[in-house]
């Protein structure tokens, strides 16, 4: 189904899917290039459907890739590059949003579901256990029940 999304993108934005990272962008220092690639995968191409700038062929993505590499060459740390881009383009540029008041629900959802599940299980098990013990008759038979039993079995009860 990803194909269908790509179709939509290809139709609306540009007509020739080509390579994302172009040969002339690649940095000569392999360590720096590896960092640039890793960072690129965390950053969104803002005019694309959910593509990172590492995957995208859009001109904007190319500009951002070059920008990331320029910052790295200038000696920025990975965190500084990210901060720089967030300051410039907002949270939207991050494919993994920072934890904050507006993303707490997102980040806590998995833990929340697990916690709710565990609590529900414990409550459920406790209720079941109580119900199971409650089902065991604790009282002796009443007089009428004895009489009925005697009648049914034909034996005189004590």
């Amino acid at each position: 189904m990803r194909i269908l999304a790509a179709v939509a993108v290809a139709m609306t934005l540009w007509s020739a899917p080509a390579l994302a990272v172009q040969p002339d962008e690649v940095l000569s220092d392999p360590a720096l290039e590896a960092r640039a690639r890793a960072l690129s995968r965390e950053l969104r191409c803002m005019v694309c459907q959910n593509q990172s700038i590492d995957d995208s062929d859009a001109p904007l993505a190319r500009d951002l890739r070059i920008l990331v590499r320029d910052r790295l060459k200038a000696g920025d740390s990975d965190g500084q590059v990210i901060d720089f881009l967030v300051a410039r383009y907002g949270q939207f540029v991050l494919l993994r949003p920072h934890f904050g008041a507006d993303t707490a629900l997102l980040w806590l959802a998995p833990v929340g579901v697990l916690a709710i599940g565990v609590v529900a299980l414990v409550l459920f098990a406790r209720r079941r256990r109580n119900a199971a013990t409650a089902e065991v008759p604790t009282q002796a038979l009443s007089e009428t029940e004895r009489a009925r039993l005697a009648e049914l079995t034909g034996e005189p009860q004590k």
């Binding site: 189904m1 194909i3 269908l4 999304a5 790509a6 390579l19 593509q51 494919l95 993303t103 579901v113």
Partner: protein, 657 residues
Amino acid sequence: MIAELGHYALVLALGLALIQAIAPIIGAQRRDATLMAVAGPTALAQFVFVALAFAALTACYVVSDFSVVNVFENSHSAMPLIYKFTSVWGNHEGSMLLWVLILSIFGALVAGFGGNLPATLRANVLAVQSWIAAAFYLFILMTSNPFSRFAQPPFEGRDLNPILQDIGLAVHPPLLYLGYVGFSISFSFAIAALLEGRIDAAWARWVRPWTLAAWICLTVGIAMGSYWAYYELGWGGFWFWDPVENASLMPWIAGTALLHSAVVMEKRNALKVWTILLAILTFSLSLIGTFLVRSGVLTSVHTFATDPTRGVFILAILVMFIGGGLALYAWRAPLLKQGGLFAPISREGALVFNNLFLTAACATVFVGTMYPLAYSALTGGVISIGPPFFNLVLGILIVPFLIVQPVGPLMAWKRGDLYGVAQRLVWALALAIVGIAAVFVATGVKGVLAPFGIGLAIFVIAGALTDLIERIGVLRVPFATAWARACGLPRSAWGTALAHAGLGVALLGIVCESNWSSERILAMKPSDQASIGGYDLTFDGVVTRQGPNYRELTARFTVREGGNVIGVMEPSKRSFASRNTSTTEAALLTIGFSQLYASLGDPDDGVIAVRLYHKPLVLLIWLGPVIMMLGGLLSLSDRRLRVGAPKPAKPVLQPAE
């Protein structure tokens, strides 16, 4: 005329669906055998009429009848015949028609093979199926009619989108829809059980084969789609956490949970209320998946707004089935009696653990997919949630899940012996540790994730096979005895082991691909050389060729290993004049389970941009789901589970379990 016949057949199917949606349910209420018996013939007739409608549209495509709007928009007279068939569902209207075709096939199957169901259950199930069918027929007829005509037919069609002109379109959507729609059977069974207020282990036994069949199709469908994206989109990725992918992954996760909880229900008569809820949720997610993809709301809120009738109709169907289903559940579920008790450390406990983590995983995907939508609706801001988020969160969730996976099948029902199981798994753990050590030795201490991932994958595969190996007695008994025992094992035991091992195989592929792939991005001139992953590629030059409805520029690379030629790779770029678009056709060279991957960029002055990858063991990513499918098929063929045939076996021939 053919298009009109198809249209008319679809209207007739709607009429039949309305009858089938009402009469059998009244019959079931009144215990009226005649009214209940209506469901069988109408289900079969619905199938016949929908098949006619589908055949009519296909006929319009095959003869390139461009007076039909749908054919004009998605076909071209010069297109190869296979794509004329597949483009029937390569668009919104046609794919909805495929959806109802599959729905009617399932309805007819229940009618045909459901003879051993209690009459009221069968009537209710078929009626609920028909509610779904009626809603979809209405949707197609009112908002997405594939049979509309032009008053003045154009001379030539607009062609199918080039990216879709691939064999992948022949396989991926039908399989995916078989999965989505197959879960409608579990949904109908759940709703029918709620209507009757009665549910037991036999119910689970009837539902499981249908769920399993749908799950198999969805598994392969998703894997196929992943492989298609891998070779067609040209940047070598296999999963992108795109909303449309997530839409297919959510029903798969929920369906997997449903399969497992239905086991508990069948064997132990427990988890009934939860299983019913899962059945409703699984199909709800299928509906959401279908509709969110089809309505375009996920790719852009604007596409939703451009065609409000479709969007509103979709919302109405979602509210009716999901809201209605859940409301009925809230109302009736408390009536269902609870079943057997079990200790936390037991097979049931392990399956509950499985369900807990699958639910959390499904919720993560759901929240991650819908969050940007909700965020922009509520705050007006924009937010992106992409692969880095999903990889991190699901990567964490899956670890405990996979560690417990081999433990589950070795546990006893009711009360298990964790220490005993741990002893049986020691050899699997030892293998895993050897694997981790081997990775450290081979690659040095660079990170712990890759070695740990490999170790986990080995543990899962070895753990899954533990039960089989012990029961067959490999290496302990003579070969002939072992062979006889292997043949005598119930197929469902083989199925479980294979499906679980398949997940480990896929994990192995994913870990290798994501850690040890190498990539080179180069500008190459003819006779240039490049080496990657121990292979040397020589660029021989480019040729242009004319295809049936495109021109292609093909580059030729000779691949050598240690000086010996081992293959030729010919990646190409195709340009389609009719749509003024082009596609990248990657070239793949398979070496064992690893692949070399080459795709082209734009040529410029005799120099061409090339992207080369070496992807070690990448094929395991898709081999895993294929193994899971085989496991599912074996389970499905187990006589105890065979579709519609839960009859007691002849006691003499029943293998010991």
